[in-house]
């Protein structure tokens, strides 16, 4: 019983402890066991919290028994627990995959460091989600970001280094913008506790520092979540990072930044401040539309499969921010549910692509790149992998029966609610672009004749296939049974907008 009461702290502390333990053990196998055990425990804790929230509503946990707003508070509501499940769940699935995957991609003597970094990244992401303290968000954000830069730099291609460097510069600028925003808020309200801040901000609502804080936070977080046109770091980082890292980042890192944005917009500033004092909805609407069309359009012309789906991610983030700009329960539900649905679909897709990378053999000392040319007739040799990518692709398009359809459906509902028919058309039209880029893979893998004899190693690695198919299964499951995803998202949206049922 007492253990259950401490779940919010354990959620973050377990992965945090696993990271230094992994370093101390200096052994890839032991480090893997420790970090994976911590990730699974975190996943169990996330499920436990989700159930607790269902019973008692909002959980408030005082770190070190200092009551908020003086001490640091961990605060778990419906949205928090939902995001915790996504992040901890993804880590639990990606880690066993990473065991088999990094064998081929990372030198063996640094395996234990990879697991340590993974543990830290997981700690950071979980911490950002669960904390109710503004400065704490920044600290956890940097923990996750710094470990992410390291993991990207572990990629075999030397361009992974420049990608990591570029991400470090952009990410640090974004994080510094976020601290500046938090600093302004602290100056004006004298508190760092988000709930307390939300109360006190009413008195200084239209003062210029508060509006400046809103602007700094928006820009900083947009950098972190890769909102068009601040997405420059994303394609290279996703393309050259090790496969397991790409999958984990694509499913969680940008999503957690969106979560922070939602948290600040709706829990701290409140919708009246965000949506009435500044032209934010219009800006966000247009940037989202640009992302949806431009990034999806660019994706069609990519030759590297990882880069193709990286651009697709930027487009999909457009759908998430589009949902935010509506300022309605359905719009917010669409955003939150798409965070989850896109996370699992894209995570699964990148895991499967990692399987292809593992099967390809590098030529001339250059590490193998999953270029479309090398995938001619691939479906004959790796049928399950290709079929999985097709299902993931269908979810990105938003075909009924897949998770992606659910989010698009709520997005369309929100657009129709506001009688924005041209937006309905735009959402459907941009989905056609997704059809085009997914079709490029289908055409090459299923219908093109292989130019040369198949490479000898072209068979499906089982250890990589099982975790990926777990997520593909989840993509289909959450496309059919929406009580967990859409139900939680709807409840979270109502909590955030302060509207009763």
């Amino acid at each position: 019983m007492s253990l259950l009461a401490h779940l919010p702290a354990l959620q973050v502390v377990l992965p945090l402890i696993s990271a230094p333990l992994a370093v101390l053990l200096r052994h890839g196998g032991f480090a893997f066991v420790i970090v994976t055990a911590a990730a699974w425990a975190a996943f169990a804790a996330a499920i436990g919290l989700w159930l607790q929230v269902g019973e008692v509503g909002v959980i408030s946990y005082s770190i070190g028994n200092w009551p908020p707003p003086w001490g640091i508070e961990y605060r778990v509501d419906r949205l928090t627990s939902f995001m915790l499940i996504l992040v901890a769940g993804m880590a639990s699935i990606v880690l066993p995959y990473a065991r088999a995957s990094i064998e081929r991609e990372i030198p063996r003597d640094v395996h234990y460091l990879f697991y340590a970094m993974f543990g830290l990244c997981l700690t950071g992401l979980l911490g950002i989600i669960i904390t109710g303290d503004a400065f704490n968000i920044f600290v956890f954000l940097e923990i996750s970001s710094l470990s992410t830069y390291v993991m990207i730099a572990l990629g075999r291609d030397r361009r992974a280094l420049t990608a990591a460097y570029q991400y470090l510069i952009m990410g640090s600028i974004g994080a510094t913008f976020i601290v500046i925003g938090i600093g302004f808020l602290y100056l004006m309200t004298g508190t760092l506790n988000l709930a307390d801040m939300a109360l006190r901000i009413r008195e200084v609502e239209s003062s210029r520092p508060v509006l400046a804080a809103l602007a700094f936070l928006t820009v900083g977080l947009s950098l972190k979540l890769a909102l068009f046109p601040l997405h420059q770091w994303l394609p290279n980082a996703y393309t050259y990072a090790p496969s397991a890292v790409t999958a984990f980042l694509a499913a969680t890192a940008t999503k957690v930044s969106v979560y922070v944005l939602i948290r600040f917009y709706f829990s701290v500033f409140g919708e009246s401040l965000v949506f009435e004092k500044l032209p934010l909805p219009e800006i966000m609407l247009w940037l989202s539309l640009f992302a949806m069309f431009w990034a999806s359009f660019v994706a069609i012309f990519q030759t590297n499969l990882k880069r193709l789906f990286a651009y697709s991610s930027i487009g999909q983030i457009g759908y998430i921010t589009l949902g935010l700009s509506f300022d309605s329960v359905n719009g917010l539900t669409a955003s939150i549910v798409h965070l989850f649905n896109h996370g699992i679909s894209k995570g699964a897709t990148f895991l499967l692509i990692g399987g292809i990378v593992a099967a390809l053999v590098g030529k001339h000392g250059v590490p193998p790149a999953p270029t479309l040319d090398r995938m001619a007739g691939l479906a004959r040799h790796m049928p399950l992998t290709c079929f999985g990518i097709v299902i993931g692709g269908l979810s990105l398009i938003g075909v009924p029966g897949t998770a992606g359809f659910i989010s698009k459906w709520y997005l369309l509902l929100a657009a129709m609610e506001k009688a924005q028919w041209w937006l309905v058309a735009a959402i459907l039209l941009s989905s056609l672009l997704a059809v085009a880029y997914v079709w490029r893979f289908v055409e090459v893998a299923y219908f093109r004749q292989p130019a040369t004899e198949p490479e000898p190693r072209l068979k499906e690695p089982l250890g990589l296939l099982i975790p990926a198919w777990l997520l593909i299964g989840a993509t289909i499951w959450f496309g059919l049974d929406t009580s967990l995803t859409a139900g939680s998202a709807f409840e979270a949206a109502q909590q955030l907008l302060g509207r009763s049922k």
Partner: protein
């Protein structure tokens, strides 16, 4: 005017640092700019916490004006983060120098492009 002195310094450092990051192509210079940019934030937090004549917040009969200690604590954390970021950035710069033989952005870009062209012609 003079009352806002600390803010003016802060904003100058902030903009100067950000400008260096954007305008310079040398990876080390970029990191210097990033450090200046991050340091300006330390000023932003610390300066408003200080009261002229204020002491450390220890209750004592002789003193009635106290400075706010919380910003210092926050910035100690931020300094650690800044150091870690800088260290990682420099480590990456070393690795890039080893892999490319240069830390100038345009040269690195040119070398990557030539590799990509070679890859395309091979296929």
């Amino acid at each position: 005017m003079f009352g806002h002195f600390s803010y003016i310094v802060t904003v100058f450092l902030m903009v100067a640092g950000l400008y260096i990051v954007i305008a310079r192509g040398n990876l080390i210079k970029k990191l210097i700019g990033l450090s200046v940019f991050q340091t300006s934030v330390y000023m932003l937090y610390i300066a408003p916490g200080k009261l002229v004549g204020g002491t450390a917040p220890i209750l004592a009969p002789n003193f009635s004006i106290y400075s706010n200690p919380l910003p210092h604590v926050l910035i100690l954390t931020a300094i650690v983060v800044g150091v870690a970021t800088l260290a990682l950035g420099l480590a990456l710069a070393v690795r890039i120098q080893e892999a490319y033989g240069s830390i100038e952005e345009d040269k690195i870009l040119a070398r990557d492009n030539s590799v990509e062209l070679a890859e395309d012609s091979r296929l």
